[in-house]
């Protein structure tokens, strides 16, 4: 079946089996491999994307269900080539080691900051608590998100908060 989504602001389409998971559609059919896969059971969050602006574990949704919706992956975070503050924060605060959970963490952090531009440490921990990081022990991820909050451009314009159809 033909599935069409708007991903990172671009309309993309592919012919897939009806059972195709959204994560495989994004990675294998649209070749956006920044979205990772880690567990099958919606526990790890390596596959988190923004779905109509909200974090979603893309291993838990069929590609067909996503048809017509707006998706942002990590590849869409750096608008015009300039890093999103959360991306810069992860660099400044050593918020990643292997980089495998990073894309999902970045997108959850972006959604959190869009909804709550000045989150507390606990609010950040709650926001990312559906995701596993095996390397950082989380402290530096929390700091990275705080860095992004404190270094947000005066007029934030992101492509990630658009509400889809």
């Amino acid at each position: 079946m033909q599935v069409t989504v708007t991903i990172n602001g671009e309309e993309r389409s592919a012919d897939v089996e009806p059972r195709t998971l959204l994560v495989h559609f994004i990675r294998d059919d649209l070749d956006l491999t920044g979205t990772h896969w880690g567990c099958d059971t919606s526990n790890c969050g390596a596959c988190v994307v923004l779905f109509d602006g909200e974090p979603l574990k893309s291993c838990t949704m069929l590609a067909a269900t996503a048809a017509g919706h707006e998706i942002t992956t990590v590849e869409g975070l750096a608008a015009g080539g300039e890093l999103d503050p959360v991306q810069q924060g992860f660099i400044e605060c050593h918020g990643q080691q292997i980089g495998f959970c990073t894309p999902g963490m970045l997108l959850t952090a972006r959604a959190l900051l869009d909804a709550n531009p000045d989150p507390s440490e606990h609010e950040i921990r709650e926001a990312i608590s559906g995701q596993i990081c095996r390397c950082t022990g989380y402290s530096n991820i929390v700091k990275a998100v705080r860095w992004a909050a404190e270094n947000a451009p005066a007029t934030t314009t992101t492509t990630t908060t658009t509400t889809g159809a």
Binding site: T35, I91, I132, R134
Partner: protein
Amino acid sequence: MSTVQPSPTVGYGSMRRKEDPRFVRGQGRYIDDLKLPGMLHGAVLRSPLAHARIISIDTAAAAAHPKVKAVITGADLAGLGLAWMPTMSQDTQAVLATDKVRFQGQEVAFVVAEDRYSARDALELIDVEYEELPVVIDARKALDADAPIIRDDKEGQTSNHIFDWEAGDSEETDRVFAAADVVVARDIIYPRCHPAPLETCGAVAQMDPVMGKLTLWTTTQAPHAHRTVYALVAGLPEHKIRIIPGDIGGGFGNKVPVYPGYVCAIVGSILTGKPVKWMEDRSENLLSTGFARDYIMHGEIAATSDGTITGLRVTTTADHGAFNATAQPTKYPAGFFHIFSGSYDLQAAHCKVTGVYTNKAPGGVAYRCSFRVTEAVYLVERMVDALALELKLDPAQLRLKNFIRPEQFPYQCKTGWTYDSGEYERAMRLAMEIAGYDDLRREQAEKRARGELMGIGIAFFTETVGAGPRKDMDILGLAMNDGADLRVHPTGKAVLGISAMSQGQGHETTFAQIVSEELGIPSADIEVVNGDTDRTPYGLGTYGSRSTPVSGAATALVARKVRERARLIAAGMLEASPDDLEWERGRWFVKGDPEQGSTIQEIAMAAHGAGDLPEGVEGMLEDTCVYNPPNLTFPFGAYICVVDIDPGTAKVVVRRFVAVDDCGVRINPMIVEGQIHGGLAEGVGIALMELIAFDEQGNCLGGSFMDYLIPTALEVPEWELGATVTPSPHHPIGAKGVGESPTVGSPPAIVNAIIDALHDSHGVDHIDMPCTPGRVWDAMQGRAEPPQ
């Protein structure tokens, strides 16, 4: 906390990582990201049973699937001589089962299909008839007379016994125990857990039938060792094998072994003439790949009545699963467990370890641990706390009283190690200061009076890492040495090739900083290549905290060789004798005339230039080095943990965790601290929730992230770190390695804290990990059971 500002341009110090720009953009290059033209997908059929004879395998329906290109069984591999492969412990392991399956999840058949879904579909079409056999799951029953023999494939194997191994002086230890005022004993289990890196294991194999060259993109922490194994297993000429790990999404020891899936992907590519990708799913990773620990220990500690520890002895049953596939130096079947006398100046110590087969997955890799150091440290730190309880002494004071003193280094311990350097009391007192230890004890007393459960736990560890000296250590006969090659280009930019393999440790940054420190070239001008075996020198890879101790040393030494070459060339440029030149970072100059000098960049250009070089000096500016460590390094640290336990639910909350680490000289403190954070979180997981359990039929009960629990951001505290620096005297830059220290030191600190919280109120003097609410609750009711 270190911050990255300001970033040094040359040498050591916290600086932003070179790796991160690609990771934050989703441009890491992991195995599953690879897509080659015509690539096929493999999937492994696994045994549902823990022990069964294979009666028949019918693959006809799978082979008839329109998208299936090949179905491979053990019988097919036997025809190629590939049904069995060597393990890293001189045992054999089935690639695909031929006679029996010996653990749940064992590899039985391999399907190659056009896409990953079809490959999985075809697995359902394979019909395997099994005859069930009795299982052995509990290692304590593996040597019973009526236990089924698991390895009847091995000639002369009449029991499930693998090895007996001892260290220390048994008679002397018995004598010390006989003379002791007090002896305390504990049965201590370090249960089976799993490294569970977020990226599972996988490979893409591409056999070029024309050139006869195999390229294998694969998740390996030891690419060169794997290349040699494939050459030996498959008979492929080693120069026609190229291993490319790419970016690795976490290893923690899990990606040290060669797994059957890798071999199957290679065979699949040979048979189909196409690239074949095999990527295991999460359950396959947890069910079948290298587990960790599974040590059943009986420890005894001897002391005088005033708390001078005199002796330690331990007997251990080591559960190695169905194939002895543990990864450790050949001479040491129990790894470095004989570091179990820890940080204390004892009169005698002795251990005996018995390894056995069970119907469980093979492995025994270290989960962020240098070859069983974790089990050893857990044992001694639990025993010291047990002694403190017995003698009613403060556990911090008891440790301070018994530490090896600074003037005793290099210290010969009673089980054969020579500790390189240490200042234990300094680290311990710093941890107590950061924690506010006396205030914590006061707070605890107040809370106890109110019926609240608060515990303070201490662990002090000494590790032995950086394997190792070739006279003592090898894996599969390969010396545990590492190479480095360094090429400085004409314009003064450099490329360093190393045999260590990063799995997130930041080698591209840290190793550039080592070269930068030695040569004065900005680290931004140094590219570090690791992993690709066609582009890097030979070496045994990254595990056992050996990257900085071994590859880091090779890197410093090759840079010094290049510096010496630069000196000779500079002497020609400056028309001076080499002996009259002096080095300052980045520049040789004439002694007493600092204006007369040449920068390393000028020298690099001259080295490649058309002008004459001094007689006997080779052109270009490059060199190679192989480092054979004279000894291991011995990082240490003092950890203090504060827990609160809910008296109504028995839920343990790690409220504070103080970690003072001494890993010698720190190249990039930001990266060191990041490593410690991560290892502490894994230690919290091991202590509180991570468990690979089995039922009586051998069904694995930890086969998904729904069952194998890993801490999230809400289960770990904000880490409180401190550092002392005691350089290693024998390491070229005084570094000791750090990646595993936090996982080694944190579990005993947490368990000691839990017992500290529950001893006075509930009489708990022991509990085994993982300390889940259910198990802690049982302990509070006086019915603590070991984990199954």
